[in-house]
């Protein structure tokens, strides 16, 4: 209490046009505060790019070396599920963008609705991902856990996939490298899913705060910056979708 009085007394000579409660003491204006937070978010996303960049590098190297294995591996993924998930995420980005607009135009109910929809779509994405992971587990395509080469050494033993792609059998050496494909598949989609889970957690927190009207009284920075994060995860997924699901489709 006493502390804040001293701050207030101290910043008195620096004339402010407005001094709302959410303006932190070390900023001179709300504009500077929002600017700084936004800039920090972009920098954070840059670190995320570098983080995923390491995985993308590994992917590119091994895809170039073991192209046939990567093609056969990718045929094990279900393009319908992948496409559905891409649509779900893009839709969630749209609802998120609408949420930002609602916050900026101070529509509390609209904001809560948009955030709830984004939350829901995020869960749908993770649900579909779980179904896909389960398929891999059932087929023993999880590296390190009794990984099975059956589908690649003898494609006809896997009739559903064979029906669609008519893959030729891989030589044993190349077939073994499908394990690397699935390692990267689980790493990249897993890391992406982890970001989704964190995002959904933050969304839950935001919905509670938004219902109390926290973001619709002029202080929408948090929503705007979270929006950036959400769109970023969306973009990562679009790359993952192309790189992991669509390798042999030109």
């Amino acid at each position: 209490m006493q502390n804040s009085q001293i701050h207030a007394a101290n910043s008195a000579p620096l004339a402010h046009e407005e001094h709302p409660s959410y303006l932190r003491h070390h900023f001179n204006s709300t504009e500077q505060q929002a600017d700084a937070a936004g800039f920090a978010m972009w920098l954070f996303l840059l670190t995320e790019v570098m983080f995923f960049g390491g995985l993308f590098t590994a992917y590119l190297v091994y895809r170039n070396w073991y192209y046939p294995a990567f093609v056969s591996g990718s045929h094990q993924l279900n393009v319908v599920w992948g496409t559905t998930n891409t649509a779900v995420l893009i839709l969630s980005s749209f609802t998120m963008a609408m949420g930002v607009w609602c916050a900026q135009t101070r529509r509390r109910r609209g904001l809560v609705l948009c955030l709830a929809l984004t939350f829901f779509l995020g869960l749908v994405f993770l649900g579909i991902k779980t179904v896909e992971y389960r398929e891999k587990i059932e087929k023993h395509h999880v590296p390190g856990f009794h990984y099975s080469l059956q589908s690649f050494l003898d494609p006809q033993s896997d009739p559903e996939v064979y029906k669609e792609y008519h893959d030729k059998a891989l030589v044993p050496d190349m077939a073994r490298h499908t394990e690397l494909y699935f390692s990267l598949y689980f790493l990249m989609t897993g890391m992406h899913a982890l970001h989704m889970i964190i995002g959904i957690g933050i969304l839950g927190f935001m919905i509670l705060r938004a219902r109390a009207g926290a973001y619709t009284a002029g202080h929408e920075t948090f929503v705007v910056n979270f929006g950036l994060y959400w769109h970023f995860i969306d973009i990562i997924w679009i790359y993952l979708f192309a790189l992991l699901y669509l390798i042999s489709r030109h």
Binding site: H26, A36, T47, G53, S183
Partner: protein, 555 residues
């Protein structure tokens, strides 16, 4: 010419200002939950010193073992763990955060005329992450340590050792996030929080150096984070990414690891260079020669620093063409480093030089960093590298840059800003002595290692052929002296907290904005928001200012 520029207030009447960032709030919680950048800097200073002495004790053990050619002090396995933990603690928990997290944290907002960093809570979070990582590293040491070398080299780290790679990896991973957050905070602060009139080319060079280092922290650290995650998964699940038997490539790990760990040495040295710019200018009473060149050379080091990582891999089977290109790029980094050294030298030319402790350390830096940098060129040219790599030459080179360079700069900075941080002077004579002792001890420790390396003594072995003993004895003796040199400042700096002379606002007659406010500063740094109306290092402005104040107080 006087032999000192120190101007202290009249000790009989001078008092430390009653209201300052240390006295404003009391109690342990007011420190642990603070968001004040100055208090966080102090937290960092204490914890970093703690880790420095742990890493130093481990270095002492290494030198003690190497006193004799046989392995007599500890088993070879233990020796492997000791040098590994020495490397990990010194690099990730001392060198990387040393200057940025303490002096940078304290003075970046003050130098640009801001009340705090842009993200004060994130700043506190970064300290907690640092402590979590550091304590986890200590815990690892207690449950048996790790022996992969600080480089986590695969497949050693993923397949062969049965020591605590995972907890160490996690510790480094967490500390990495702390570093990312610090760098991010600095960049945002420097962009968005500058006082009116503080244009980019009026910024002190300390700020430019930290800006460049922050770019490296933000861009490079995430890559080592993912590399460590991959090592952990390779080790636990055998995912195959670095495993040749599954088609993976250990070289990929080297690329990812050094993509961070080479820029990391610039993360460590650039802030130190920033300190040296401030000290050299202040104690020669001259604007830094070629301000713009020095500013841009920091940025150039950061940019070039990203494209030289493979010079750590010359003997690891990368293609000859890659070796050629990386060798050339490595030479290019020497250019901006040399620009700095030459410009500092020209700053000294015809300056009114005085020899206070920070200046002594700065001289130490200039000499030792030059040697360290130039031996880096030996290692950067692929021919000599093949002969010298993995020998004590590497160890000597690295320690000349990091201990001779960075630690000297850190100590220069600590002494230089001590009066501002605490309001009291350190005792001058004994600290000059400590600076000289450090310099002598340092040279005695590490210079023989250049010769040992040339003669072919490999690094990372607990034993060596008897003919190398004499030089090793020199080195161990030097390490002892060096240890004394490092203990002295701890003692007299703590002493000075109570008994040091009252420093006043600006004991060095320095020009930076941080000196134009009380010491120790107010929680909000400045009583009135400063306006920058002159260039950096403008000593004429300072004189005029003081004359006006003199006139005003006389009236």
């Amino acid at each position: 010419m006087s032999d000192t520029i120190v101007s202290l207030p009249d000790q009989a009447t001078a008092r430390i200002p009653k209201d300052n960032f240390i006295t404003r709030e009391n109690g342990l919680l007011s420190w642990l939950l603070t968001s004040d950048h100055k208090r966080i800097a102090i937290l960092y200073l204490i914890s970093i010193t703690f880790f420095f002495f742990i890493g130093g004790a481990l270095a002492g053990l290494i030198r003690l073992e190497l006193l004799t050619p046989q392995t007599d002090l500890m088993a070879t396995d233990t020796y492997n763990k000791v040098f590994t933990m020495h490397g990990i603690i010194m690099i990730f928990f001392f060198l990387v955060p040393s200057v940025p997290a303490t002096l940078g944290n304290f003075f970046i907002p003050m130098m640009i005329g801001a009340k705090d960093l842009a993200l004060p809570k994130i700043n506190l979070l970064s300290w907690y992450l640092y402590m979590a990582g550091g304590l986890l590293a200590l815990y690892t040491m207690m449950i048996g340590g790790v022996d992969t070398g600080w480089t986590f080299t695969t497949p050693l780290s993923t397949h062969y050792v049965n020591t605590n790679v995972l907890t160490t990896g996690l510790a480094v991973f967490i500390a990495g996030f702390s570093s990312i957050l610090t760098g991010l905070n600095f960049i945002v602060t420097i962009h968005k929080m500058r006082a009116p009139g503080m244009t980019w080319f009026r910024l002190p060079l300390f700020i430019w150096a930290h800006y460049a280092a922050s770019i490296l922290m933000v861009l490079a650290t995430p890559v080592v984070a993912i590399a460590i995650v991959l090592v952990a998964l390779e080790r636990t699940l055998g995912i195959g990414v670095f495993d040749p038997t599954k088609g993976g490539d250990p070289l990929l790990f080297q690329h990812l690891f050094w993509f961070y760990s080479h820029p990391a040495v610039y993360i460590m040295i650039l802030p130190g260079m920033g300190v040296i710019s401030e000290v050299i200018s202040t104690f020669s009473r001259k604007r830094v020669f070629g301000y713009t060149a020095v500013a841009f050379s920091s940025v150039a080091i950061a940019v070039f620093g990203f494209f030289v990582w493979a010079h750590h891999m010359f003997i690891m089977g990368i293609s000859n063409y890659a070796v050629l290109v990386f060798s050339l790029l490595t030479m290019l980094v020497a250019v901006p480093s040399a620009i700095k050294i030459f410009n500092w030298t020209f700053t000294l030319y015809k300056g009114s030089i005085t020899f206070e402790t920070p200046m002594l350390y700065a001289f130490g830096f200039m000499g030792l960093f030059t040697i360290g940098g130039m031996t880096g060129v030996f290692l950067g040219s692929s021919g000599t590298d093949i002969h010298l790599t993995e020998t004590y030459f590497i160890v000597a080179h690295f320690h000349f840059v990091m201990v001779g360079g960075m630690l000297m700069a850190f100590l220069a900075g600590i002494h230089f800003w001590w009066p501002k941080m605490t309001g009291r002077m350190y005792p001058e004579k004994i600290s000059q002595l400590a600076a000289v002792v450090t310099f002598i001890g340092f040279n005695l420790t590490f210079f023989p290692q250049f010769i040992l390396g040339m003669l072919g003594m490999p690094r990372r072995y607990a034993s060596y052929p008897p003919e190398f003993q004499i030089l090793n004895v020199f080195s161990t003796a030097g390490a002892t002296i060096l240890g004394v040199g490092y203990l002295l400042p701890v003692l007299y700096l703590i002493w000075s907290l109570k008994y040091g002379a009252i420093a006043g606002d600006n004991p060095w007659q320095a020009t930076g904005l941080e000196w134009q406010t009380q010491s120790p500063p107010l929680t909000e740094n400045f009583a009135v928001m400063p306006v920058m109306d002159h260039e950096a290092y403008d000593y004429e402005w300072l004189e005029k200012q003081q004359k006006e104040q003199g006139v005003a107080s006389a009236e």
